[in-house]
Subunit: 350 residues, 2 copies
């Protein structure tokens, strides 16, 4: 049941109120949480109706792109963002990566008993700021509360629904030999910023997470070219994992040029010290695009005019073989395989 | 990112394999989990494409009904169901309650390190059985893994997208004085079955959860009447909370007739002993409908011919005042207020 419902005489709220099991009950406490914490910032007609599902009229009969993501990032707040902004942007971006315009989001919260309501309010405010920037509405929600020790304060799952922009077919299986690979900016910022927020770096940087909604960037790209073949946001597993996947899906080889890949000095330094490769570090406000070589210059030009594409660069190209492989031309002129990681490098980065 | 992706040389799986952080990494272990555990049972073209979002063509340009629910039920398995069946049915039902046909679901999993993969497989198989029964597809998914002690084995958030059946406008604000209230069957079965599975009852019953998809039942009802005003599945907080909400949303009074409400003897006995009121106990395979009085007989007739509506009954009516109130005519002939609960009676029932 959608639990962002209509008001019933809200209970008074103290300044240091904490989440208790009653906030997930379906009763007065839950209604109070909804009417005070969720509804005012996120307000829109479909949500405010307070029914079991939000009802909306999509703007066209286009195909729908539908995605979901659970967000368990630790810590909840980090330089440049927080779990709320991440939960909105992550799902907005997944929808946008299909060449679609995201319109409607849902958000389901799992709250740990004892969570400060003030923290939740801060997260919801951040969600709304991100939703406004992305021009999407949260039209349905749900709240569950689990006992102390049965979650880690706060998890948010979001889902998104968008309409595919007509005249475009974007998908991981559409990379073609001869295409070029574009990245929208510096890589690894999010992962290293979160590591720093955990105190795991052992030193301080000025780094901020790149978490951002990329749907407007995608729309600009598709407006100048109908030859954008693949879009993907390289989150967990980074650019290396995303491009490995695409190489497999499209049965092609992707070859990167090491010196073309934009990496901030602070990210490079942190990776050097920690023994990480920035290619595997999570991004939350970057995309990789595989596009027709002829259209690449105009796509790059329009990307660089947008807020989140200023440092866009061509970083590689697509070849026929070896099929399913990601290769790297190093600064030394050698070529090496960039493989998929087996297991976990940085848990709970998103 | 959608993490139900295309295959890469799956690793061998031992019989007692457990979830580790690497299963949430974006690397080989995650791909292995996806290709072995999620994709085979849930397979469909949109999911199998392995992109950031599932792309589908909705069958019409009707309004969309979109809902979401987090599922944290404890224990994971209970008589009559499990968290997987619950996660599908809960969201299918929320979409159906808007007079819509659910088509597409997404599922995001939060797994605790140490969870047995065999348990996850059992849950996913149960999801697929329920999805087939409901005639919906899971077209996108996500998996996150958190450290041991940071979740309670397994949480599932599902979202659902459906198309509103034309010619019908169903919503909590549409109850009208003179309407009658129908319930589709016995109340309280789910909550008491889960309590029993926890060992909290102190005695044994033969009770099973009613968890079921109600979308086909809804379709039958709407096929015989365009005067179904409100539909709601009384989950957390039970029939009492659902009808209180509707009374507020529609600014009407709902009056129930105590002896008309179907309650199994074992539920009544358990409630008697525990001091609960079945009206507040969660259901996961029941709906309440508020319909035009003239159409009620034919709606009831068609409900009783369906699998999940055999024991449907008229249990009350809608009046003008007192506005926002749920009242009960007792067997003794008195009338009492059935209020909203303040806090929590049965945590983690769904």
């Amino acid at each position: 049941m959608t639990n962002l419902q209509s008001p019933v005489c809200p209970l008074p709220r103290s300044h240091d109120e904490k989440i208790v099991l009653g906030h997930g009950s379906g009763g007065k406490m839950m209604t109070d949480l909804i009417t005070k914490t969720f509804q005012p910032p996120l307000a829109n007609p479909a949500l405010n109706a307070g029914n079991d599902a939000g009802v909306v009229q999509p703007p066209s009969q286009a195909q729908l792109a539908i995605s979901t993501d659970a967000h368990v990032v630790y810590p909840l707040f980090f330089p440049g963002g927080d779990i709320g902004r991440l939960a909105i942007c992550g799902t907005v971006n997944d929808v946008a990566m299909m060449g679609a315009i995201p319109h409607y989001l849902t958000a389901s919260f799992i709250l740990e008993e004892g969570l400060e309501v003030a923290i939740l309010e801060k997260v919801v405010a951040s969600m709304q700021t991100a939703a406004e920037e992305a021009d999407v509405q949260v039209i349905a929600g749900d709240t569950k509360v689990v006992e102390r020790g049965k979650a880690d304060r706060l998890y948010i799952s979001t889902s998104g629904v968008g309409t595919v922009i007509e005249g475009h077919t974007v998908g991981g299986e559409r990379a073609q030999p001869g295409d070029v690979v574009i990245v929208s900016g510096t890589i690894g910022d999010h992962g290293i910023a979160v590591l720093e927020a955990r105190g795991d770096l052992g030193f301080r940087t000025e780094l901020r997470s790149d978490v951002a909604p990329l749907n407007h960037l995608v729309r600009e790209m598709l407006a100048v070219s109908d030859q954008v073949h693949v879009l993907r946001d390289p989150t967990r597993g980074g650019v290396a994992s995303a491009l490995n996947e695409i190489a497999r899906q499209s049965a092609v080889c992707v070859t990167l040029t090491e010196e073309a890949i934009p990496v901030r000095p602070s990210v490079a330094a942190a990776c050097e010290i920690l023994g990480f490769d920035p290619l595997y570090i999570a991004n939350e406000g970057k995309l990789v695009a595989i596009v027709d070589r002829q259209d690449a210059p105009k796509i790059l030009e329009v990307m660089r005019q947008t807020r989140y594409g200023k440092e866009a660069a061509i970083i590689g190209e697509v070849q026929e073989a070896p099929v399913g492989r990601l290769l790297m031309k190093t600064a030394l002129g050698t070529t090496r395989v960039v493989d998929v990681l087996a297991g976990e490098m940085l848990p709970r980065i998103c």
